[in-house]
């Protein structure tokens, strides 16, 4: 009887006895992510499941990421196959209105300039000694586009997926804190106060329907490796703009995106096991991700200054900061900063155009990088 009690009790205390300091730290990090999502409202749709996934995977003895474990099944089915980010892109396409971008197509260039940080960070990561494919995955944090970062990391550096995803989504939610100091430092008072005329709707329904088809065909021919990314986001947008499959559009915007977001968040959290996440590499990835976002913002604003000079002061350089993929936070930041220096300035629609341009730019930049990597024979 006594022996049986001892044996039964050992099963109950096994979790405590196996608990390591590293797992406790990871649980604290998981709780921090939950706090940021719930109390601070920072990207709650992803940080909440990621945070809880981090808790789940660090419970000693639960073995949820071992072969046959439920998180391993979800991870293998959706992340390892790159399926989840691809499905989320259909929802993003269905939710995105490219109207402001189509009204002023030149703003697409800001969406390209806003991606320069990706490549500069990639260069720095290579110089710091990261292997090429890991450096690519770190650079893509600068795309400020969660699904793109996850897609590239799961393809090329799954060992960094947790750090890359947490960096991408955390920094995306911190855009209102990260961007303004850079915007203020790089522009003069006169440039900040430039008033841009109101955006007038100028794109016909036919143009809006043809736009996703043309972007997909041109973009995929230029960078075939990015076809899954570009194809799914443009499929979602075509569904939206055509107006003939409203049931599918509604499903993509809501049920599909919601279910996949939950599973993706849990799967990412599941990569945050203590033995894999608590490494100096993770800290370096987080630091480089931050640098990438700062460089993106700086390059966008500097390109905005160039456009301001070329157009003789008709473009407010602040909208360059919205040329990243963090939608619509970056556009809102530009609007707030513009109003701070000129109360008559309404930059929101221009910034929305640059922001949707940044969404296309981030996918295009990743696609081009994947294709160049394939061309170099290292992918």
């Amino acid at each position: 009887m006594e022996r049986a009690l001892q044996a039964g009790l050992s099963g109950l205390v096994a979790g405590f006895s196996a608990l390591t300091i590293s797992e406790v730290i990871m649980m604290a990090i998981g709780c921090l992510l939950l706090y940021l999502a719930i109390a601070r409202g920072l990207e709650p749709l992803l940080l909440l499941p990621i945070g809880f996934g981090a808790l789940l995977v660090n419970i000693p003895g639960a073995n949820l990421m071992e072969p046959g474990g439920v998180l391993r099944v979800v991870y293998d089915a959706g992340v390892l196959t790159e399926l989840f980010p691809i499905l989320i892109f259909i929802g993003i396409g269905a939710m995105t209105d490219f109207g402001p971008l189509l009204d002023n197509p030149r703003i697409l260039l800001l969406g390209a300039a806003g991606q320069f940080g990706i490549f500069l960070t990639l260069l720095i990561a290579l110089l710091l000694g990261f292997p090429p494919l890991q450096a690519v995955s770190i650079g893509v944090i600068g795309a400020m586009d969660g699904p793109t970062a996850i897609y590239v990391a799961s393809k090329y550096a799954p060992e960094l997926l947790g750090a890359v995803s947490v960096a991408a989504y955390s920094y995306m939610s911190l855009v209102p804190l990260i961007q303004p100091p850079i915007m203020r430092a790089l522009t003069t008072a006169k440039e900040k106060a430039v008033v841009m005329p109101a955006v007038r709707s100028s794109a016909s329904k036919t143009t809006k329907i043809l736009f996703p088809v043309v972007v997909f065909i041109v973009g995929s021919i230029v960078a075939p490796q990015g076809t899954p990314l570009l194809g799914t986001v443009m499929l979602g947008n075509l569904m939206r703009e055509s107006g003939v499959v409203q049931r599918l559009t509604g499903m993509a915007e809501n049920e599909l995106t919601n279910i996949v977001t939950l599973l993706l968040g849990l799967a990412i959290g599941a990569t945050m096991a203590a033995d894999k996440f608590l490494t100096p590499t993770t800290l370096l990835v987080l630091a480089l991700g931050f640098l990438a976002i700062c460089l993106d913002t700086a390059s966008g604003v500097l390109f905005g200054k160039l456009m301001c000079a070329i157009t003789r002061g008709r473009v407010n350089p602040l909208i360059g900061a919205a040329g990243i993929s963090a939608f619509p936070m970056a556009a809102r930041v530009v609007q707030v900063e513009g109003q701070r220096y000129n109360r008559r300035n309404y930059l929101l629609m221009h910034a929305m155009g640059a922001n949707t341009g940044g969404q296309i730019g981030s996918i295009m930049a990743a696609a081009i990088m994947l294709s160049v990597i394939a061309g170099l024979g290292i992918g």
């Binding site: 990639l122 290579l126 709707s201 794109a203 809006k208 043809l210 309404y346 170099l376």
Partner: protein
């Protein structure tokens, strides 16, 4: 897997990546201009087919 030194690889990716992204998006912006010329908003407005949203004007 081919081996490149980090500086060469980084510079190649940076130049082709930044240049390629900028050039592709520039071409896309030209195509959008062309589409807008081929299918102007007014013609569709006349036929009652357009659903393009109006941007809010500054007050």
């Amino acid at each position: 897997m081919k081996v490149f030194d980090p500086v060469t690889l980084g510079l190649v990716l940076a130049v082709l990546g930044m240049g390629g992204t900028l050039l592709t998006l520039f071409v896309l912006s030209l195509i959008v201009d062309l589409l807008k010329r081929l299918f102007p908003l007014r013609r569709e407005l006349d036929s009652g087919a357009s659903t393009g949203p109006r941007a809010p004007a500054p007050s």
